[in-house]
Symmetry: C2
Subunit: 452 residues, 2 copies
């Protein structure tokens, strides 16, 4: 492939072909072993750069893999041999409008950077993936990312009012804007959100913001059984709207405690970390009700704090769970979700699958919305164990589907979960999705092999 024309079309230093640098863009955090090698990485500086790159690739039928920060966990940004990686990491502008409570951001900013920039205006961008320090807002939009506060505040799509998107052929679309209400034409903004770079590339997002989150009360409860923890979860969500309701099982508790030494109960079968951000003394009242619910469900230990730093420390422990469990071995990362009443069935089903396949599964969950992350630990140098881990990976997704759930609550399908997508959606929904894909990207250059 002759890249000189593309190199000439773009500002100096935009196209990278250095082999070592290329190698660092081959995989995202899913570490897909089947990743190919790109011919080049385009680090776009502007919408124009994105449009120029796509127009060039479209004319030549060259695959383009859009990439935010590369923190994806489903292989949505895995390189394909001969493709271009199109990174938006350099596009980092943000303007905040406190009157409309909106921000206009470019895709390369980290989620945490967006949060900090709007906080300066007393505002809050709620969606908070655990990886918020290292995941980009563009990637969040592409995967319709979730996080810890979603149980009360919803997911990324609920906070995107408009976007600039570049289509496969380089056409730049401006969609929506800083208006809470807009019923003019098809909801294209929402269609692009969660499409994992298969329909277009976000070059700008209009975010809806909320006033700063009130201080949170925090409750931490240990349980001797998984069933007790699940009972407490259902009791809490049936009565209250926690701003966070997180779950860690025994494997996770011990992995986190190994790293952080914060005195978590290593003997507990499960730990819940719940928070309330109800205004004023209502947070305290909600925390008290959560303490009661945990005690009633047989918690062995319940701890309650109004101290913000202490509460943040427990939240950080939960956020650190995936890196902590990674110390135990290679991980297959699950992201299955079920309607909340089926959470108990999912948890016990996962336990049974782990036992049957003799693999260690660490279970973390955004329990309040039924979204779980079973982390399947395995030794990649042991082919038999790795095969068993992969079998468990598929079975867990089938279990979630059987329980009326989803194979991915917030990470996206990418390449790793693609074989199971048809089992969840059915062939008709996939066929309709493919028709939309074909209408917008007739040569199939955008993120080939992902999702569809």
């Amino acid at each position: 492939m002759d890249l000189h024309e593309l190199i000439d079309l773009l500002p100096d230093g935009t196209v990278i072909t250095d082999a070592d640098l290329l190698a660092s863009y081959r995989q995202d955090h899913a570490n897909d072993p089947d990743a190919g090698t790109p011919v080049a990485v385009v680090r776009a500086n502007s919408t124009d750069d994105v449009a120029t790159t796509l127009r060039w690739a479209h004319e030549r039928h060259i695959g383009v893999i859009p990439r935010g920060a590369g923190s994806g966990l489903s292989g949505g940004a895995t390189a394909v041999d001969g493709c271009l990686m199109l990174s938006t990491e350099r596009m980092r502008a943000i303007t905040v409008d406190p009157v409309t409570r909106t921000a206009i951001v470019q895709p390369g900013l980290m989620n945490a950077e967006v949060k900090r920039a709007v906080a300066e205006h007393g505002l809050w961008y709620p969606p908070d993936p655990s990886s918020f320090e290292i995941c980009s807002i563009g990637g969040n939009a592409a995967t319709n990312a979730g996080g810890l506060c979603c149980v009360k505040y919803g997911v990324t799509t609920d906070y995107i009012l408009g976007a600039e998107v570049v289509l496969a052929d380089g056409t730049v679309l401006r969609l929506g804007g800083p208006r809470l209400k807009d019923s003019a034409g098809l909801s294209l903004t929402k269609l692009f959100i969660g499409s994992e770079g298969t329909l277009g590339v976000f070059t700008e997002l209009t975010l809806r913001l909320l006033p700063a989150q009130p201080p949170q009360s925090t409750v931490v409860a240990g349980f001797a059984t998984l069933a007790g923890a699940v009972e407490a979860i259902l009791a809490i969500t049936g009565e209250l709207r926690p701003s966070m309701l997180e779950f860690m099982d025994s494997v996770t508790i011990n992995a986190v405690e190994d790293e952080m030494r914060m005195g978590l109960d290593r003997n507990a079968a499960a730990l819940l970390i719940a928070r309330s951000d109800a205004p004023g003394q209502f947070a305290l009242r909600e925390a008290e009700l959560m303490v009661e619910a945990c005690e009633k469900a047989g918690a062995t230990e319940v701890f309650h704090t109004e101290d913000l730093e202490e509460g943040e420390a427990f939240t950080a422990a939960r956020r650190f769970a995936i890196p902590a469990v990674e110390r135990l071995g290679a991980l297959l990362l699950e992201d299955v979700g079920v309607p909340l009443p089926r959470l108990g069935d999912l948890v016990t089903g996962i336990e049974a699958i782990a036992q049957r396949h003799e693999v260690t599964v660490s279970l973390i969950a955004h329990a309040g919305d039924g979204n779980t992350h079973p982390l399947i630990v395995h030794d990649p140098t042991d082919p038999a164990q790795t095969a068993r881990a992969h079998e468990a990976f598929g079975e867990i997704m089938h279990l979630a589907i059987e329980l009326g759930g989803t194979i991915t609550g917030e990470h996206g399908v990418g390449r790793l979960k693609k074989p199971w997508l048809v089992d969840q959606l059915g062939p008709e929904v996939l066929a309709v999705s493919q028709r939309i894909k074909d209408a917008l990207d007739p040569h199939g250059i955008l993120n080939p092999g992902a999702v569809l």
Copy 2:
């Protein structure tokens, strides 16, 4: 057209061909004078009926106009000569799940019926068009309807987690479900919402619910100038999150007072009705801050009540505004929205347009989110005045577009606003929308002539 086959395919009494009955289905509340006459009305009893009807029409390339309750204000359900009207009014089932805080509803229920059914479980479905007693939940989804609480709680799309949709060719898709988080595949649910029956017909919706809304405090303030009212609006939204922030101008105040005799200040240039549903004593505190903001902005009269019935009476007065103004003459109903900082420019611009064209405009607004309803009053028997009213109608939309706004915040484009859609979205966005339409409805049978 030989309807016997369709009549035979559907349960007895489903297909109506009686001329008088057909006539009653020709128009929605937009009263489009160009409405055609349908060959039949299908009152579907089930998803099967909808699928059968569409399959039959698809094979014969017959236009089908989906219709909810016929309360639309943009002519989205205007009949076309020779078409079938497909009404979902008979599909009225609902089941509520308090554990997941979701409801599964069929499209024919009125918005108010959904609210009442979920309220029995202590739950709340927020979106609240003024027409909530006479508009169907299916129509709400089709137009991405808004309402009075959107300023704090968002619009219909924010509360739909899943749907069953029948495509033009009769294919039944099941999308999403009772899961707050689901990143599996394209966001098709969201694409169908707001597509005004051009892509598919909703036969079931999975709604996200909230706990019951706390009791609201209410503030009513009169202003001697429009500028004063706008200043108060910006002061309130800049500092607080009102659960409602509504505006009526002098024409509206007097039309409402003529009907309701509740002692509204007939001399005021503008009236604001604001509410707070912050928990506990925070509602009172927010109300006090809203009173202060109104007084500071020069309100001539400010009234504050914690009494729920009194607050509801003012809200009902605002909801009654369109019917009240209808007594003054025929209406062209606008639904333009702008980013909040441009609200003052919109209001003064509308006043200027009304004066220039010598037409009466009654201005109502969901002021807190910048969505206004200028109602252009005219005498349809006076051709010159009617022509001037139509000119004003177009100019108001162009003004909204110039101010970075939308031609429709919540009613939809339908047929009445279609000529202006390209001016807002631009030809590229329309072309992409048409490609999606063609991919899903290749014969163009669904709601022909609406939106695209």
